[in-house]
Symmetry: C2
Subunit: 325 residues, 2 copies
DNA sequence: CGCTACATCACGAATACTTGCCATATTAAT
DNA sequence: ATTAATATGGCAAGTATTCGTGATGTAGCG
C-alpha cells in the first residue's frame, strides 16, 4: 500500500508538504495542494494510523472490560459507552472476562503497552490488589477498587425501592438472590439495604448467594428450582431481572399465580423486564447515563483532567410492572 | 515511561541486544540476558506495542461491526467472536452501526488505515456498493455482499422449520414479520421459504415488513398492536424472538390464550426465548458456531489463506417451547 | 605454539510511517 | 533594499525490529 513517501514522489514534493496537506497545517499553495491531493487519489493513499499513533503516543482506543457482553445489562451499557466514545473519536476494544481471571491483568498491561489509551473496568474481579493505585486512565463501572474512580449506581436506593415495592404488595416472607460476595461490587449494598428495610418492617428475609461468574439462564432456572423447593412458603422475590425471570418461569410452572401468590421485583431494567409476560416490576439502572458517564470520565482522565469526585453515584428508579401489586 | 533505549542504557548494552532478549531471538549470553532482564524489571519496562505494530504492519485488532450490540443475538455472537479471537491473540474493536450508515464506510477505511487487521461485518447496510470486491480480510455475518465471503445460517431450513411448527399446530391464517428488505441479508430467505411452505399447504400468509434499523422493544409492541388490530383473525405468528415476545405480550393482554388461540414461533434462540413464560418455540441459530466460524475465517484471510467456500452455511434447529402445540 | 575456522556475541544502521520544528527560498509589499 | 508573508524542504523524533558486520572467544589441526 502507498505511503506518504509514495505520494510525495508522485506529486514531486517533499514528504512534509504532503503531511501539511493532510493535516491542513502550515502553508501550502493551492497549486501544490491540488497536485498532492490528486496524487493521493491516484495512489489510493490512506495515512497509516499506526505511525500516526506512534508519533502522537495515543491510540484512540479505550478498553472496555465486562464479565459477559451477552448479558443484557452489560450489552446495553457497552452500547452507550461505545456511542459516547465514538462521538469523541475513540473506539472500543471489547474484553469479556468470564472465567478468565488473568485477563484483567492482561488488560491493564494493554494500557501500559500503549495498546489502549484508557480502560473502563466493568468486570468483576477476584484480584483487585493487582491494579490498585495505578494512576492510569482507568475508571470502574459499579465496582470499588481503591484508588480508581468509580461510576456507581445508588444501590442503597435500589434496595430500598425494591423493599418498598414488596412491602406495599404485602409480602411477609421474602428471599433475595445476590451475586457472589467475592466480587467487590458496590451492588452488594442493595441487598444489605433491602434486608434492613424488610426486617425493620418485620418481614423475614432469606438471602441466597450465587456462585461466581454465573451468567447462564439454565443455571438460573436450577437455582430457582432449588430455592423454591427449599422455601415453599415465600411470597416475595428480589433478584436481577434474569434471575427473577427464571423464578417467574418456575413459579408459573408450579401453578403459582403472580402477583397474587408471589410477588417479584427485578433489578437492572433490561429489555428482558419489559419483554416478558407478566412484565416485571424492576429497579431500573440508568444504563445510558452509566455508559455515558463512564466514557466521559475516562476521556477526562486521558486528557489529564481530574474527576470531580472519586465516586459518581447515579440514580435508580422503580418501574412498575405486573409482578407486584 | 521507559523505552527500550532506557533499558539498553541501564543494562549497558545495545538496543538491539535488548530486542533480542525481548524476542528470544539471536545470540544472547546468559550474563547479558540477566542484566537486561533486571534492567527491565527495575524500569518497569513494557514494550510499546504501537512501535511493534508499525514495524510488523499488523495490529492484532479485528473490527466487529454489528447493528446493535444490545440486541441479544448480536451480543451473543459477539461474545463467541471475542472468545475465539482472544484465543488467537486478537482483540475485538466493537462498532455499533444503528442509525449511522456512514460508519460502515469509516469502518472499512479503518482497515485501509491499518487500524484493524480484519473485519467481521455483521451489520446491515444500505450502501453495500461501497465496499464490494475490496479483497481485504473481511467476512460478512449473515449478509450477502458481492465478493465478500459470508458466514450464513441456513435460513431456508429455518423458514421451513418455522412453517412446519405452525402447520403441525394447526394454523390456517398466519402472519410473519420480516426485517427491512433494504437490508441485503440472506435472512430474507426464511420468509420466502416460510411463505412457500405455508401456501403449499393452503395456509394464508401475510407478511409485514419492519422499518430499517428497528431494535427497540417499545417499537415492537407498537407493531404488534397495529398488526393485531388490523388482522384479528390470525392464529399463527412467525417473527424474531423479540418481536414474537412483543406479540405474545399484546396477545395475552387482549385475553388470547397461547398456544390455544394463537401459536407463535420465534427466530434466533436468544436467552429471551427461554427466559419468558410461556417459553417460546423458536428456530435456534447456531450463535456459537457463527461467531467461531466468522472469527476463524477472518484469521484465515489475514494469514493470506483462502476460504474453502465463499459461503459457509450453518445449520439451525427448532426448539420446542410452549407457544406451539 | 600459532593459525584457521567456526561459533558466539554485540553493535550500528536501516526500516517502518507520520509529524513537527527549523531552515531556506521565493514572492510581494513597503 | 528591507521586511513580512508565503511556500517548501530537510531532519529529527517517536519506538521496536532485523540485517549485516565487526569483534571476541574457542576448538582443532599442523
Amino acid at each position: 500500500m502507498a505511503s506518504i513517501r509514495d505520494v510525495a514522489r508522485k506529486a514531486e514534493v517533499a514528504v512534509s508538504t504532503v503531511s501539511r496537506v493532510l493535516n491542513s497545517s502550515g502553508y501550502v499553495s493551492e497549486d501544490t495542494r491540488r497536485k498532492v491531493l490528486s496524487a493521493m487519489e491516484e495512489l489510493d493513499y490512506m495515512p497509516n494510523e499506526m505511525a500516526r499513533n506512534l508519533f502522537h503516543n495515543r491510540t484512540n482506543f479505550i478498553g472496555v472490560m465486562v464479565p459477559d457482553i451477552s448479558h443484557p445489562f452489560f450489552a446495553m451499557v457497552t452500547k452507550f459507552i461505545e456511542e459516547e466514545l465514538y462521538k469523541n473519536g475513540y473506539k472500543v476494544v471489547l474484553c469479556n472476562t468470564v472465567e478468565k481471571s488473568n485477563r484483567e491483568k492482561e488488560f491493564v498491561d494493554m494500557l501500559r503497552r500503549r495498546i489502549v489509551d484508557g480502560i473502563i473496568m466493568g468486570a468483576h474481579s477476584l484480584e483487585i490488589e493487582k491494579y490498585r493505585n495505578l494512576n492510569l486512565p482507568i475508571v470502574a463501572l459499579d465496582r470499588i477498587i481503591e484508588g480508581i474512580p468509580n461510576i456507581c449506581v445508588d444501590h442503597c436506593k435500589g434496595g430500598r425501592l425494591a423493599a418498598q415495592a414488596l412491602l406495599h404488595s404485602g409480602c411477609h416472607n421474602v428471599v433475595q438472590i445476590m451475586g457472589c460476595r467475592k466480587v467487590h461490587s458496590y451492588s452488594e449494598q442493595r441487598h444489605i439495604v433491602f434486608s434492613e428495610v424488610m426486617k425493620s418492617h418485620g418481614v423475614q428475609v432469606r438471602t441466597v448467594e450465587l456462585a461466581w461468574n454465573l451468567f447462564n439462564f439454565q443455571e438460573y432456572l436450577n437455582v430457582a428450582k432449588q430455592v423454591l423447593d427449599k422455601m415453599q412458603d415465600i411470597d416475595g422475590i428480589f433478584a436481577t431481572d434474569q434471575v427473577a425471570m427464571a423464578f417467574i418461569r418456575v413459579l408459573l410452572e408450579r401453578g403459582k399465580r403472580i402477583p397474587q401468590d408471589v410477588k417479584v421485583v427485578g433489578y437492572d431494567g433490561t429489555s428482558f423486564a419489559e419483554g416478558c409476560s407478566p412484565s416485571l416490576t424492576t429497579v431500573v439502572q440508568p444504563m445510558a447515563d452509566l455508559g455515558k458517564t463512564a466514557a466521559d470520565s475516562v476521556l477526562t482522565l486521558i486528557k489529564g483532567g481530574r474527576l470531580e469526585s472519586d465516586q459518581i453515584l447515579l440514580d435508580v428508579e422503580l418501574k412498575q410492572g405486573n409482578t407486584t401489586l
